[in-house]
């Protein structure tokens, strides 16, 4: 699956199927600081993501 990341903007390719929380762990990202969005929809940590899914991992922490 193609995973869109921010700060800086980039894309990585990750092999599916994979659970949301395992995807975050693999990328070393903390759940509390990120949202996982499939297409236009938010998904929970137990959701299974398929190889064909368009995924965005959006950081939610701002420093201002």
């Amino acid at each position: 699956m193609i995973v869109q990341l921010s700060h800086p903007q980039r894309q990585v390719e990750i092999k599916g199927p994979k659970r949301t929380k395992d995807l975050l762990r693999e990328l070393n990202l903390v759940v509390e600081a990120h949202l996982v969005i499939r297409g236009d929809d938010l998904v929970t940590e137990d959701e299974m993501l398929a190889d064909a899914d368009q995924i965005e991992i959006r950081p939610v922490i701002s420093g201002g």
Binding site: S6, H7, V30, V31, E32, A33, H34, L35, I37, D40, D41, L42, V43, T44, E45, D46, E47, R58, P59, V60, I61, S62, G63, G64
Partner: protein
């Protein structure tokens, strides 16, 4: 995972509340949290005119959205800092939200452009003044928001500060024992003197992640990119640390900040000293004579139990 309220598919789980919600129930949850903050900190009433400080980021746009959905009279002010593409993009997002959503609720967007009044953007000003950009920025934003609120007769000014912002700020203040700043962490600051607007933080019960989720669920188009000046800020470090603690024990951030607010509103009962308290609560153990709050001390109880336990 299913929504704890209506059992349809959940879109978010909230470990600190031991809950999971679908889109509709999550939106209702967020509205309820904001309504509770408004009520318990006496922020404003439906008659009041509110000025929301918007930046184009998730917190301030979500705040404006929530207030309008709850039926409040809320206009917004955007300050264009003149930070290259970041300012252009955030300005576009705010304008877009104002035209597409806020206008239909009868709400107006006010704009202040730093370059127009000061002749330069915030970074150039900071260099001229030999001051850090963020402190120059803070002074300008505070001034402009307060001035607009007072001059245009708003009853209260609202900012998008969330639980993470306040917990991180509290951690910073406590680490450096900046007690003089602690008073300013209350979610409602009064219009103490003529010329000062009343200031409130209606999102203080919601975490940053919850607010971002609210924005995604309600299709609020905000700027995800950060202000380039925020890079490496102490606030980010404090938030990171708090989020690691939060992951290990959900509810840490809320206990830290809300506990502080509780203490602040209920001043300690006419300061009993530790000696006075000990004298009031401790008495000799019936068995060994050492001070204890119980009739028999915990050591004696433990030993008695060990002796009666069946030997192997």
């Amino acid at each position: 995972m299913n929504c704890g309220k209506c059992k349809t598919k959940a879109v978010i789980s909230l470990p600190r509340h031991n809950a999971a919600f679908c889109k509709g129930c999550f939106t209702a949850f967020v509205h309820e949290q904001v309504a509770r903050a408004i009520k318990s900190f006496k922020m404003f009433t439906p008659e009041d005119r509110i000025l929301v400080a918007v930046s184009g980021g998730k917190d301030s746009l979500a705040l404006w959205h929530i207030l309008l959905k709850l039926g409040y009279r809320a206009d917004a002010l955007y300050v264009n800092l003149g930070i290259g593409s970041y300012s252009e993009e955030s300005h576009r997002k705010v304008r877009h939200y104002a035209d597409q959503v806020a206008a239909a609720h009868g709400a107006t967007l006010l704009v202040h452009v730093v370059e127009q009044e000061a002749g330069a953007g915030i970074r150039e000003l900071a260099t001229l003044l030999h001051r850090p950009t963020c402190s120059t920025c803070g002074t300008i934003k505070r001034y402009q928001f307060n001035r607009a609120a007072v001059e245009q007769n708003y009853d209260v000014m609202a900012t998008g500060h969330n639980l993470d912002d306040e917990a991180a700020r509290l951690l910073g203040n406590v680490l450096h024992w900046q007690e003089e700043y602690l008073d300013k962490q209350s979610p409602t600051l009064p219009a103490s003197v003529e010329g000062f607007a009343k200031k409130v933080k209606p999102l203080c019960r919601l975490s940053e992640r919850e607010i971002a989720a609210y924005a995604v669920v309600n299709r609020i188009d905000y700027i995800v990119e950060e202000c380039p000046m925020a890079k490496g800020s102490k606030m980010l470090l404090y938030k990171e640390v708090l989020n690691r603690l939060e992951t290990e024990s959900p509810g840490t951030k809320q206990r830290f900040y809300w506990g502080f607010l509780d203490k602040q509103t209920k001043p300690e009962s006419a300061a009993e000293t530790m000696t006075e308290k000990d004298q009031r609560t401790l008495a000799p153990c019936q068995s060994c004579g050492q001070p204890t709050t119980a009739g028999t001390c915990s050591y004696c109880k433990m030993m008695a139990k060990a002796k009666t336990a069946a030997p192997r």
